[in-house]
């Protein structure tokens, strides 16, 4: 068997220091250390680093941590709904300890979404109810528009994509909501009201800080949630029109979750 070199032993030294090396491997490493000053020194250093790491003092979170967080939550609405950027991130801005997501990311996402919504509505139109959503077709066409360089314009474009997609879905819902029992429709409208509130608050936050990446992200997250809910509502109308009570119940259950 070929003799092991110091390089071969290098990874095993970590296991030895961590106490996870046993049996024959451990005996071989220990035998090597008796004759190799270099690896012995490395092992000693690794032990010191490990011990120092374990000895690092615990630190306490800031005393006002909860009150700061609570203020942020006030603007975040209900759990699971995004409505406001973190105060910390707002204070530090995009150049601080925050992720910068270019505005074209929103535009691209909005364009993809518009196409997805258009597809949803196209499928919907294949039902006997006929043609119901001209706005969504416009949204899909708009998705192919050239990207422009201005961040502000791109954000406006992304917003427009969402608005067109939402308008198309709302039109379908308006026409078909009579097929849904009033109690379910009321719950869906209530949920939509919560999301609309989040959208309004996000717009206000973005107006106050137009360049805040967090505020942009928050608005588009709220818009995405609105589109998701509307898509579920349209799917519900579809199932009701088909008389598929089980499918409708599954959708309602998914919305409730």
């Amino acid at each position: 068997m070929k003799a092991m070199s110091c390089k071969d032993y290098a990874a095993l030294l970590d296991d030895l220091v961590d106490g996870t090396l046993g049996g024959e491997a451990r005996r071989r490493v220990e035998a090597h250390l008796e004759t190799c000053a270099g690896c012995r020194g490395t092992t000693a250093d690794l032990r010191r680093i490990r011990e120092a790491a374990r000895s690092l003092p615990r630190v306490d979170p800031p005393a006002d941590g909860w009150s700061r967080l609570s203020a942020g939550l006030d603007r975040a609405g209900r759990p699971g709904l995004v409505a406001a950027p973190s105060p910390a991130r707002e204070a530090r801005g995009a150049s601080g300890f925050a992720t910068w997501r270019p505005a074209w990311g929103f535009l691209a996402a909005a364009a993809v979404l518009a196409i997805a919504v258009a597809t949803t509505l196209l499928l919907y139109r294949t039902t006997p109810a006929g043609d119901r959503a001209p706005a969504a077709g416009q949204a899909a066409n708009a998705a192919s528009a050239d990207l422009v360089s201005s961040v502000e314009t791109e954000l406006q474009l992304a917003d427009q994509h969402y608005q067109k997609a939402i308008a198309g879905l709302e039109q379908v819902w308006k026409e078909g909501q009579g097929t849904v029992d009033p109690q379910t429709a009321a719950v869906l409208q209530k949920n939509m009201g919560i999301i609309d509130q989040a959208v309004r608050e996000s717009r206000e936050a973005l107006r106050a800080q137009p360049t805040s990446e967090a505020a942009q992200e928050t608005l588009f997250e709220a818009l995405r949630r609105k589109v998701d809910l509307l898509k579920d509502m349209v799917a519900l109308v579809n199932e009701m029109r088909k008389g598929n009570q089980a499918g409708a119940a599954q959708i309602v259950s998914g919305i409730e979750r």
Binding site: D14, D45, R48, I49, P61, A76, G80, R92
Partner: protein, 186 residues
């Protein structure tokens, strides 16, 4: 040795989350009070300073609040929060350093050169401040492996699950992190 995680009473966690989702702010404050200390220490060691750690802690809990409806109770709430926190810290570190590579990308980097025995003190003198400064110079993925294993006491299988990498990758990252630290401290 694993760190002393909060007792994983998943049924209880589900109840608390359900209360939060129902709008019970006191329930969410309870979650904050129970887990803020552990998550703050992680954020502090990963970011290297109190200011960034303060911001990170806020972000961790805001993100948790936003994502509470995705907690399915497969793991304890503490584990769910910790994993969310680790990945948020890594994202922020990478963003700050302009590195958008995946965790495993760094595995193929060359090892730091071994410190020659000659020309350096016979024994490495590791002070707290020196170690903290050196940890701050580690690439994000090295730092995550070192902080989670050597500072926080997690095992490689746990780190692998948290970072969504293999156990072997976790060992490799730790190995390289320690060699880099040795070079920095030598």
């Amino acid at each position: 040795m694993s760190p002393s995680n909060p007792v994983a009473v998943i049924g209880g966690d589900r109840d608390v989350v359900a209360r939060c989702l129902g709008g019970d702010r006191d329930a969410f404050e309870g979650i904050y009070r129970q887990h803020a200390g552990r998550l703050y220490n992680l954020a502090f060691r990963m970011s290297g300073g109190a200011n960034d750690a303060d911001d990170l802690l806020q972000e961790i809990f805001l993100q948790a609040y936003r994502k509470l409806d995705s907690y399915k109770g497969d793991a304890s709430l503490g584990t769910w929060l910790y994993r969310l926190a680790v990945n948020l810290c890594l994202d922020r570190l990478r963003s700050r350093q302009g590195r958008m590579d995946r965790v495993t990308d760094s595995i193929d980097e060359d090892d730091a050169p071994e410190v020659a025995a000659a020309g350096r003190p016979a024994e490495l003198n590791v002070t707290r401040l020196d170690l903290e400064r050196a940890v701050g110079e580690l690439p994000p993925s090295y730092r995550a492996a070192f902080v989670l294993h050597d500072v926080e006491g997690y095992q490689h299988d746990e780190i692998a699950r948290m970072l969504d990498i293999t156990e072997g990758s976790s060992k490799s990252l730790l190995h390289k992190a320690r060699r880099r630290l040795r070079a920095l401290l030598g």
